[in-house]
Assembly symmetry: C2
Homo-oligomer: 162 residues x 2
DNA sequence: ATAGATGCAAATATTTTGCCGCCAG
DNA sequence: CTGGCGGCAAAATATTTGCATCTAT
């Protein structure tokens, strides 16, 4: 929470400023989860990823450190992190096929705004979004654990192109 | 609804109030899209679906009317409808596997609120959500064509259970 | 008549499972 | 030491593509 200036003015690629390398490792250690060599590699990559990761990219980068690291391990580790609410799973409106993307769950939820033309994804925080969630919690009498908003449209450049 | 409830543990009791049978057919006709026998069948099912449809269920129901209707045709028709913004694609937070669900795109966007315990899905409209979208459009200078919010949590009954 | 759809089979893509040997704690 | 974990292969799911044939307009 301390280091998250979380001021993402990103026009495209994700700027991961909200987490320090080691955060996820700490979170899992604190919960008594076994920290294997493979997990440490994956956690570090996720912690410091400059953009949204999919399984393919995560695996490729992990193999840079351990060529034998298996795809299944990637899936299992992501499951683990999801179960603990430490990563969020997105599909970014299926901009590219039906893969999923993952990002560390920061201190504050944000909205993903994607251009359907060029694929650029912006992350936006909004007081209105926080209020919306509180409204839902009240009205639906639900204890929210995950909230995901993905918005698609066309940016000025892509509008001109079409 | 005898057969379709077997696999569907409860994807939510959706009340389809927003569309009449024939709406989608009209929309496509107006756009000069060829209306084949297969498409008419699929459109009618989607138009009147009382719950969120996935490809499996849609295919099964369509085969009641035409046993030879192919799964590929289902995918292609859904693609068509997506391209024209006539259906929305959801994954309902992967409550059950990684399939996608589809619903007609009504006059007003709504939020999907799902209980991660029992799988019930509620649809909620919100003035706040509309304002949020307008804010995003303004701030990000984007022309929104699709907006999706999926919220997960635990309902009172499931909270007590855990 | 003909552009565009469908059916079928096969290819891709994505995720999960079973089993056995291995390693973090 | 040992129970959980990772690797490997294969299965299960989910989606897309190529092509010959058919049909809505």
């Amino acid at each position: 929470m301390a280091t998250s200036s979380s001021h993402r003015v990103s026009t495209g690629e994700r700027i991961n400023i909200s987490s320090q390398p080691g955060r996820l490792e700490g979170e899992l250690g604190r919960r008594g989860i076994r920290l294997t060599r493979q997990r440490r590699i994956l956690l570090r990559i996720i912690d410091t990823a400059p953009e949204h990761l999919n399984v393919e990219v995560l695996l490729r980068q992990a193999r840079h450190f351990d060529p034998r690291l298996n795809r299944v391990t990637v899936y299992r580790t992501l499951d683990l992190l999801k179960r603990f609410g430490l990563v969020d799973e997105l599909d970014l409106l299926h901009l590219r096929g039906h893969q999923h993307y993952y990002e560390t769950h920061g201190p504050r939820d944000h909205i993903h705004v994607a251009c359907l033309g060029c694929g650029k994804v912006r992350e936006v925080e909004s007081e209105l979004f926080d209020r919306l969630k509180r409204q839902i919690e009240r009205e639906c009498d639900i204890e929210i654990t995950v909230a995901r908003t993905e918005i698609g449209g066309y940016c000025p450049a892509c509008r001109r192109r079409s």
